[in-house]
Structure formats: structure tokens, C-alpha cells
């Protein structure tokens, strides 16, 4: 059976094609001003990679913040539900899943079947999420992708407060005025984010394995800070930015199977 999952995120749209429990195609693009169109493009690219066509797909399921704009969707699933499903699919021992995206950080607890039993989301502010790194990289005048490697060169930590992106930026500016080095400031940014995210996880209870997914899990600086904070090593699956879309594709598969019964 072939199903498709779409994740319409705040910055990027991702699509995954699933065939009998195996990923056979994936593609992504910027959400831009027309997430519907971006999703259509991602689906067609993913289908191309899988050598399949639209008519082969039995069930489309969508997730993400722009879920209401998803094309083709036969059903929808919440972002947390999708994370739980895909997290346990990729890492069967996963019981805590952290998803850090551009605008949102969330953590959830799940059981062995990939059913979410509890979750928390960052409090109405992007300070614990990817947009924070982006804003801080602008303040430091370094490229976004250089922030992580830069932070690993830091010799010590200088704490800042990440209660919000705007205040975080003024904190960074005061570190600049104190003539702290760029690596140390970069490290401070990741430490502050990791602080926020780890306090979210502590509210749920830290249940290993802890799996980190979402676009920000590709940032080595954030991962290092988070591991330090949690005192463990988070598991990052391959293609962590596609986890939402994979969760939707898995949901599509179980729903299609249910319908067939």
C-alpha cells in the first residue's frame, strides 16, 4: 500500500511517500506565500523520486501549522500525534520525543505503540525554537549554518536569558558590548535555548530513549547544549526534518488499512 504524508510547517513544506512500511520518496521546499502550491510541488517531487504517480497513492494525510491549507488531504493528524507515530517507528525504544522547528518547540511522551500520552509546547514565544538561532545569527553577523560549529569552539559559557527573542537579542548585544568572543556568544544562545527545551522535558519527566527531531536537530551547537543540559545523549534519526511528514504518512497507512477492513 502506498500513502503520502505532508507536513506544512511554518518555514518548509515536506512530503514523504510510504510504500508497505518503507519510505520510497521524500521532498521539501519553502512554504513561502502559498503553502498549498509548495505542498503540491513537494508531493510531485517525492512521487517522482519514488517513480510513482498521484493515482498510486491510497491515502493522503497532512500535519503542520498550515494543515488547513494542505492539498489532496484525506485526513489530518496533529503535529504531536505525527511525531509520536514516526518517532517510535524510527526508534522503537523512544518514549520522549522532542521536536524543535522554526517557530515551535514541543516535547511529548509516548507509549510503545507510538500513541502520545502527554505533551508540552513552548509558551507562545519562539525563544526555544529555530527562529531564535536565526535572529541571533543576524546579531552576530554569522551565517545560520555556522552558528553551531562556532559555538563548539567556546571555552566557557556566558549565560543569557531566552525568555523571548527580542529580549534575547538585547542580551546578546550586551555580550557584544562586553566584548565576549563570537563562539562564546553562540554557545550562550544554544545554552539558553537548551534551558528552555529541557525545562519543558522535565515537566513531562525524562523517559529514555529521548529522540530529537525537527529542523533544529541538524544544528550541532544546539544538540551539544541540549545533551549537556539533560545529561544524556539524545538520539537523532536520519532525516529528522521529515519526521512530521513521515508520521502523517504512517497515520495515512493505518487509516487506509482501517478503511479497507
Amino acid at each position: 500500500m502506498i500513502t503520502c504524508g505532508m507536513d506544512l510547517g511554518t518555514q518548509r513544506v515536506k512530503a514523504v511517500i510510504l510504500k508497505d512500511g518503507k519510505v520510497v520518496g521524500r521532498a521539501q521546499g519553502f512554504s513561502g506565500f502559498d503553502p498549498t502550491k509548495a505542498a503540491e510541488k513537494a508531493v510531485s517531487d517525492a512521487l517522482k523520486e519514488a517513480n510513482l504517480t498521484m493515482s498510486d497513492v491510497k491515502h493522503f494525510s497532512a500535519t503542520g501549522s498550515a494543515v488547513d491549507m494542505a492539498p489532496y488531504a484525506n485526513s489530518t493528524v496533529s503535529m504531536m500525534g505525527a511525531d509520536a507515530k514516526a518517532g517510535v517507528f524510527l526508534v522503537p525504544a523512544a518514549r520522549t520525543i522532542i521536536d524543535v522547528g522554526a517557530e515551535e518547540a514541543r516535547a511529548l511522551k509516548c507509549d510503545e505503540k507510538g500513541i502520545m500520552v502527554d505533551f508540552v509546547v513552548n509558551e507562545r514565544c519562539a525563544a526555544g525554537a529555530g527562529a531564535f538561532i536565526e535572529a541571533m545569527s543576524r546579531a552576530l553577523e554569522v551565517k545560520l549554518e555556522e552558528m553551531g560549529p562556532l559555538s563548539l569552539k567556546a571555552e566557557r559559557a556566558s549565560p543569557i536569558n531566552a525568555s523571548c527573542v527580542i529580549f534575547g537579542e538585547s542580551d546578546v548585544v550586551s555580550l557584544i558590548h562586553r566584548q565576549e568572543s563570537k563562539p562564546e556568544i553562540a554557545r550562550a544562545v544554544f545554552d539558553a535555548m537548551a534551558d528552555r527545551v529541557s525545562s519543558m522535558i522535565h515537566r513531562l519527566g525524562v523517559n529514555p530513549e529521548v529522540v530529537l527531531v525537527g529542523g533544529v536537530s541538524k544544528d550541532v551547537g544546539f544538540v551539544a547544549s541540549l545533551n549537556r543540559k539533560l545529561g544524556l545523549s539524545v538520539v537523532i534519526p536520519e532525516y529528522p526534518d521529515y519526521v512530521g511528514a513521515l508520521g502523517a504518512a504512517l497515520t495515512a497507512a493505518s487509516r487506509a488499512a482501517k478503511e479497507a477492513q
Partner: protein, 443 residues
Amino acid sequence: MKNKSVENKYLPEVPRKEIDELKNTVKTASQKIIADNIARMKKADSHRPEAMKYFDDIADLFGQRQEEIQAEKEKGKKVIGYLCLFAPTELIMAADAIPVRVNSGWYDTSKLGDRIVPVEVCPVIRSTIGAKMIELSPFLEKSDALISVLTCDGMTKLSEILGDAKTIWGMNIPRIKDSTQSLRFWSDEIKHMKDQIEKFTGNKITRKSLKEAIEVSHRATKAFRRLQELRKGPPVIMGRDAMLVNQAYVWDDKVRWTEKTEALCDELDKRVANKDWVCPPDTPRVMVTGTPMFWPDNWKLPTLVEEASPKGIIVADEQCSGERILNDPIGVDEWSMDDMLKAISERYLMASTCPCFTSEDGNEDRINWLLNKVKEWNIQGVIYYVVRGCMLYAMEYTRVKKALDKINVPVYYLDTEYTREDVGQMKTRVEAFLEMLTARVDF
């Protein structure tokens, strides 16, 4: 009325033109929101009870009810407003005055409150200040005096701020509930309030008039409990409808409210008999607890829950804008003045589950209320609703979560503000929570 020659301690002088302009803008927006809320509630139930029509009308804060109050005022009746539920409304009624609750549910006026207090302050407080600044609330404006019970920090300072514009009677509430000296202290406050109300209205509160007032409350509680009883089984009324009925009590005429609620229950009895459910009986059953949700703007959470995909239904709450208004009757043994006053003191203090209290076991009464509701109303999930700055509710969450975890009932902490802009984010969370409740049976 306040002597205007005294300088204001807090409230700024706002030019008349600005007051009128702002008031008109916010009022127009609010009327649209009220109409929209009601339209969506109508849509949610294809054959909504006839009796809801009355409550739809009474829900218009700028409509019929405030005109009635104005007419009574012109005949010489006093209006006594109040902010917290601890204000003994029976004493007000017994002195032939009109009790009406005046907390603001308007999002737009919270921005005006920001001119006086920082944004960190609870938006219920900021919004009530803003409503006063532009004279928006018909009930607050028509109040001849206000009873302000010093429960949380916000309420304490709010009473000072409103004191610039209104006669304020503060009531000291003890923070430790389960002690004889607390009850003695509070009983004195109640007695003092009786004297104050009598002096202000010029009407003596007699044994007869107080007994009648308590009986009015008793009948209302009975009607309310009948409605709640009907929410225990498969749903025959949408949560929003029941919540509106419940909340309207604080500004409606108490006797008429009781008649209309009984009429509503008669209709709902028929629905039960015909197994005419308002939504599929397997719809997840949700309880809301936390910060009060004042009509009209604070309808976003119940609307989201009941319009979400998957849908949920609210069957119970633990809020001072909801069930706590009428849940507990006043337990009178003998109908002597002393005994009635004692019963009122006990009812207002002991029955409350407000987080402003603590005791040897902390706020154990609230936990017991929640656990009892979960069991009796067959609750599958609890939404813990908190507005930013509502410290006491925010802090008590950890304890509530522990208690609910123990009986394996999921609870979600939903924080929000007096704003419409976060509905999208709230929707994501509410839907994930409802999906989680459904997943326990579905997936």
C-alpha cells in the same frame, strides 16, 4: 458616589471625546463577537433547545438586562456590583438591591489597562480597569457600590484602582480555610457587610427578607444542579450552551433565570428520553479548570474544543465563572438571623475551591472537586486554562497534574492572553489533546 474633588490615585483623566470614541469602537466590536459566539453555538446543535433563545438574548450585555436594571434604578433601587464570588449576594437581595458581577471579559480593554499597570498583570484585572476607563460595562457603570473581596493580588489592587471611580467595600478573606479563627473572622466580615448594605440602601435586612433571598438562591442552585445532572450522561446539551446559562446567572434576574433554566431542563429531559444526543456519545468528554472565562470574548477555548477536529464536548468545569457560582447551597438549620448569617459565612468560605486558599493539606478541596467530577461526569481529559499573570492558578497546576496522573486522566496546561491572535496556536494544542484522547480508543 465618589466625591469628584478628590484627586485620583490611579485612573488618568481621559478626555470625554476619547472615552466616547473608544467606547463606541469596543462596544461595536463586542456586539459582533456576542452575535458571532451565539451564531456558532446555534450552528453546533441542529435542534437547539427552544429555551436557549432566552439566554441568547440575556447574553447581550448591552441589551435587555441592562435596560431592566436601569429602570429599577430609576425607581430607586440600588445596584451593588461585585468582583469575586465571595460577595454575599443574598444580603444584597435581602436589602432589595440588585447584585451584579462586573469582571470584564473584553479583550480590547485590557490594552487600555496597560496604561496604568504593567502587562505582566493578569488580563482580567487590566481589562476591568480598561472597561472602567472608557465606561464600557453597563453593569459596572450602573453599580452604586462595589464589593471587592481581596482574594488574589490582582483583585486587591484592582479594588484600589476602581476606588477612584466607585464606592468600594473591601472584604478581607482569610487565606487559611480550615481554622475556627478564620471562620470567626470571615463571619465578622459578613456581619459588617450586612450593616454596610443596610446603611447604603436604607433598607433593613430582616429575618423574613433574608430567608426569602436564601430561598431564591436555593431554587437557583436546584435548577443548576438539575442541569449539571443532565450533563452526566451522553450529551444532550453543548458545553457552551450550558456554560452560557450558568454564567448568565451573575447578571440576570435570579427568579426568572431559575424558571428559564428549569424550562431548559424540561426540554433536555425529553432529549434524554428520545436518546437525542447533541453529538456522538463517544465524543471525548472534557472538563475545564483554572482562570475564570468571562463572557463574551473568553469563549475561544470552549469554541475551539467543540468545533475542533476531532471534536470534544465540555461536560463540566471547575471555574468561578462557571459551576462554582451555584454549585453549593447555603445550609441553614434554623431560620434565625444568626443562623442564616452563619450559614452564609460557611457557604462562601468553606465551599470555595479558589486557589487563593491554603490549609494544612493545601487546597485539597479543589483536588477533591476535580476528582469527584472526573468520576461522576466520566471526564476523559482536563484542560487547565490559565491566562498569563494568573499566578495562583498557574502555581497550583503541578499539584492538580499529579493528582490526575494518579488516576490516569490526561490534563493539558493551556496558557493564553486576552487576545484573539493566538487562536491558531491554541487550535493546534487543543486538537492534539483531543486527538490524544481519541487515540486512546482509536488509532
